[in-house]
Amino acid sequence: MSRTILICSGKGGVGKTTLTANLGIALARQGSSTAVLDADFGLRNLDLLLGLENRIVYTAQEVLAESCRLEQALVRHKQEPNLSLLPAGNPRMLEWLTPDDMQKIVGLLEDRFDFVLIDCPAGIEDGFKNAAAASKEAIVVTTPEVSAVRDADRVIGLLQTRAIEPIQLVLNRVRPRMMANQEMLAVSDVTDILALPLLGLVVEDEQVIVSTNRGEPLTLNGSRSPAGLAYNNVARRLRGEEVPIVDPSKEPQGMRAKLSRLMQTKIF
């Protein structure tokens, strides 16, 4: 049984594409054949994060128009051949695909892959609706900031009306020190407000920028960086493994951290 998972957030810039790229590579390395579909054709970037920007010849549009076969449009990753990229369209495209087209293309992918990850465009307009039409499950990415949480809430409402299930949460760009000092929404604040099960927690990590510069996702080279490990854990949980989630703001870090945890004690 193939699993089709929408990766969305509502707000832009919270880390959808980075999660899609790292999760795709991690799932592939762990043995699941995986396709990543870039549904954001106007501002597509998944190719860039995967280092595949020079290898795109065809897109889903040509497959649908039957001017090429699916195998020709799929871009297989050289170092991780278990992963393939399919761009939905190219930025010069004037007309967008319909929800039906999207379902057709995902149907083709589901026949060949264990996981199909759909990188959703930001916003809740047509691009989102198209991507959601073809999805069965969803991962909502958010950061511990009011605007990102609010937008995530809108998206969750829309996913629920489409009976997409399960919807799980990845909390991205967590700054443990700020959280411990209560200058950032706590993990429990976000999970309580959005009422979603937490699938992963990724700390802010400079290595993410380094890896996007190179076009090599952190999960590709078995990086031990905090974000790389977190992405790997998300993949393991998706594959059904039990991997505990550690709240980095509650990790022991010496006297200062102990004091700040004492200050967080709920008194009433």
């Binding site: 209560q182 604040d189 009422a195």
Partner: protein, 97 residues
Amino acid sequence: MTLRDLIDKLLGRQAASASTARQRLQLVLAHDRSDLNPELLEQMRREILEVVSRYVEIDLDEGDVSLETEDRVTALVANLPIKRARTTPLPASAAPA
């Protein structure tokens, strides 16, 4: 309220921003989720008070109708202290303001 919030309050300092963020989010999400704008909510509040006050005398200054959200379920919560019950309900048109 956390220990830190209490100390901040005692020292007259600004509270840590996370709790402000949480409160602002909860409020804005209650409104987002119910799709009720503040104007409609105010109109509904007035009409609810009108209906209730036909049956019981309520303390209009203490009364409060608001939206609260927990676990993605938004509830309309009315807190209306009753002064005394009316023996016969007032007619619909004669509702006091």
